[in-house]
């Protein structure tokens, strides 16, 4: 086992410290102040206003602005008129939202095709650790779920979308269970429901800390069992439209061998997920390799409006050290089970189960005040201390395994953590049927914005990918019956004068140039 050097003096201080006092309470006004001062969403640095498209004038992270205003990456001589394939519903994205939508559309009678950038299931869904919210516990109901999410989201939520989300949650849990997701149960066989940050009732269902994996395993197995065709390693790089602006298909790029496949569809569903691998503001990320905001960029270029495009979630407990795991996640579930955040002096400084943006801001404030632990490679972090939490290795095998592989035993050693770019709160503007501003184009999952306002609560992302995937898949299948196959053109590009880099980028560019190392 490779043991990586630690900031040993600080660790010794912590190990010698007494158990900490309870953290100071934070009233609502102080929480807002913290978030406004320290959360990256509220800092003007590294942002610029969009100069093109429906959200012109709104500031977003500069890297995202460049790509939203990017040039198409298809060859200029590509002829869109003759599609290689036709289907009723084209689903772009093979994560939780895309697979759910495809399965639902297929079962509703649509001839469906899934195109995905990497392998089927490679997504943020599969690595989700913490759980899924559903108001099932005694004393809970969808109204409490709604109120919690609104408060967590700073009341910026689209309440109609949020209502649909929380109302669908119990049935979503049952649907996933019937597909074979094995929810955690206690010894008496009752569903286990836990608290997450910002929940007023215990509402998180989980499969240890492999919740997303268990969900994705069931969804992909069911999709394969249903015989829905899937094209892997074929990301969408442009939408196809007719002359009236209706979306009629997409151009897929063969990621491994080059070349393009044109798909004509009566309905297109974007389910391409988030954008963490753009490393906005230079942030580390917890996201999967392909999370580069592709669908967001394609939708914007074709004329869709975005909601809260500046709003991203920084998960408070990304691993900050060792560098090999930088940005990787330690699920909020560990804090839910009782783990503490402690500063350089061993003190707790914030209620660990406040909403994520508040905890992340409090952590950054603590570091700014000189109470963080200086990292050997620069930057600061705080300790996540779970030594007093019983059964950490059994309850959190994913976290425990990834730490043990770098020589850290969570049962005996605190871990240095700092905020990591985790989730796109905003996204493509949609209604409850996933309808975007463009006819023929729907969206579901992390690519969409609105339901979470400007800060999502733990467990509402897994809920959203499945709940919206079902609703949008059904709506697309119905709409496809009433639509014809439209003409496939690149008409929307005639009016696009984006001068940024070719976009989407598809994958992060981590390969060092010769001599760089």
């Amino acid at each position: 086992m490779t043991r990586v050097a630690f900031p040993d003096a600080d660790l010794a201080t912590l190990l010698a410290a007494e158990p900490p006092q309870a953290p100071p309470p934070l009233d609502l006004a102080t929480r807002e102040e913290l978030v406004h001062h320290y959360h990256p969403d509220y800092q003007p640095a590294g942002k610029r206003a969009l100069t093109l498209g429906g959200n012109r004038g709104e500031p977003v992270p500069a890297r995202l602005a460049d790509l939203l205003e990017g040039r198409p990456r298809i060859p200029t001589d590509l002829d869109p008129a003759t599609p290689d394939r036709r289907c009723d519903v084209l689903v772009i994205g093979g994560g939780g939202a895309g697979v759910t939508a495809a399965l639902t559309a297929h079962d509703a009678g649509a001839d469906c095709l899934v195109a995905t950038k990497l392998r089927l299931g490679d997504s943020n869904t599969i690595m989700a650790e913490g759980g899924m919210q559903a108001a099932l516990a005694d004393g809970d109901d969808p109204a409490h779920h709604f109120l919690d999410a609104l408060r967590g989201g700073h009341f910026a939520n689209d309440r109609t979308l949020l209502r649909a989300l929380v109302e669908a949650a119990p049935a979503t849990a049952a649907w996933l269970g019937a597909l074979g997701v094995r929810w955690d149960r206690d010894d008496a066989g009752h569903l286990v429901t836990r608290h997450g940050g910002g929940t007023s009732r215990p509402r998180l269902l989980a499969c240890a800390d492999y919740t997303g994996l268990d969900i994705m395993r069931a969804l992909t197995a069911e999709l394969r069992g249903a015989g829905v065709p899937v094209i892997e390693f074929h990301p969408a790089v442009e939408l196809l439209t007719d002359r009236a602006g209706r979306v009629t298909g997409a151009v897929l790029e063969d990621l491994r061998h080059g070349g393009h496949t044109l798909v004509a569809a009566r309905q297109v569903i974007l389910a391409t997920g988030g954008a963490g691998r753009l490393h906005l503001g230079g942030a580390p990320t917890s996201n999967h390799y392909g999370a580069t905001g592709d669908g967001l960029i394609l939708a914007y270029r074709a004329g869709c409006g975005l909601i809260h495009p500046e709003s991203f979630q920084f998960h408070p407990t990304g691993i900050a050290y060792p560098p090999a795991l930088s940005g990787a996640l330690i699920t909020e579930g560990v804090r839910s089970a009782g783990a503490w955040l402690r500063n350089r002096h061993g003190e707790r400084f914030v209620d660990e189960l406040l909403p994520r943006d508040v905890v992340a801001a409090a952590l950054l404030a603590e570091c700014a005040a000189g109470r963080g632990v200086a990292l050997p490679g620069g930057g600061h972090a705080v300790w996540l201390d779970a030594r007093h939490v019983a059964g950490v290795a059994q309850h959190f095998p994913a976290v425990w395994t990834k730490l043990s592989r770098v020589g850290i035993d969570l049962q005996t050693t605190p871990v240095l953590t700092a905020p990591t770019l985790h989730y796109q709160n905003g996204g493509v503007r949609v209604d409850v049927a996933g309808q975007t501003d463009l006819p023929g184009l729907r969206a579901c999952g992390e690519i969409t914005g609105g339901a979470h306002g400007t800060n999502r609560l733990m467990g509402n992302a897994l809920l959203e990918v499945v709940a919206t995937g079902r609703r949008v898949g059904q709506a697309a299948a119905t709409a496809a019956r009433e639509s014809d196959q439209g003409e496939t053109t690149l008409h929307h590009l005639a009016e696009w004068n984006g001068s940024g880099p070719p976009a989407p980028v598809l994958l992060p560019d981590y390969a060092a140039s010769p001599g760089e190392a």
Binding site: L118, R163, P170, A174, G177, W183, G189, F233, T401, A517
Partner: protein, 214 residues
């Protein structure tokens, strides 16, 4: 920069640095990767591979996103695409041996050679999972299968044609589905009254905050 170490990949000798994962070492030495990277969090199996342990000379397996480099390491990806997949829907998920054999009849051929367990990058007792399934103890198989990333290495080394990742998935799914079907907590629930939603949709933030303080 940490201490340099030498690793071997696709016939190349690469200078890496202690503290890097295998994937980071490949990126830092100029390799652009497409097929062999997925979640980067140890959950998807895209970066599975085998390596020769420099200390013992023994072949081992790992996920490259979580394998720390060491001097003398030889690594090769074993990423599988187009893995065999279930051909049945969730209505076939019966949590007993007959249900399993209807979908995966080859399971009974297991000869207890243990190759699957030895090759698992997640250190799952794969053979134990298969044997438990053959004994009809699907709940035990389901427990083993929790951390399976479906890399398929166990299937590749199985001499009798079992795909243990599918057996474990069947077990998890069938047990989960049976538990769900038996659970009144997951039965359909009446909706909240429309009047309540009308209030919630229209109320000011101040009013909703006050309600949260109840």
């Amino acid at each position: 920069m940490n201490e340099p170490v030498t690793i071997h990949f696709r016939g190349e000798t690469i200078t890496a640095h202690r503290g890097e994962t295998l994937l980071q070492a490949l990126w830092n030495s100029g390799h652009h990767l497409i097929d062999h990277v997925g979640c980067l969090g140890g959950a998807c199996g895209a970066c599975s591979g085998t390596f020769t342990d420099p200390a013992t000379g023994e072949p081992r397996s790992a996920l490259a996103c979580q394998l720390m480099v060491r001097d003398g390491l030889h690594f090769r990806f074993t990423t599988l695409t187009e893995l065999p997949a279930p051909t049945y829907r969730s209505d076939a998920l019966r949590p007993d041996l007959a249900g399993l054999l209807a979908c995966h009849p080859e399971t009974v051929r297991c000869r207890s050679c243990e190759a699957c367990t030895l090759v698992c990058p997640q250190q799952i007792d794969v053979m134990g999972a298969v044997l438990a399934a053959i004994q009809g103890r699907l709940a035990a198989t389901a427990e083993h299968g929790l951390s399976c990333v479906s890399c398929g290495l166990c299937m590749v080394v199985c001499e009798v044609g079992i795909a243990p990742q599918l057996v474990m998935a069947f077990a998890r799914r069938s047990v989960g589905a049976a538990e769900t079907a038996a659970d009144p907590t997951l039965a359909a629930r009446p909706p909240l009254p429309e009047a309540r939603w009308a209030e919630l949709l229209a109320a000011t933030p101040e009013a909703l905050l006050a309600e949260g303080e109840e």
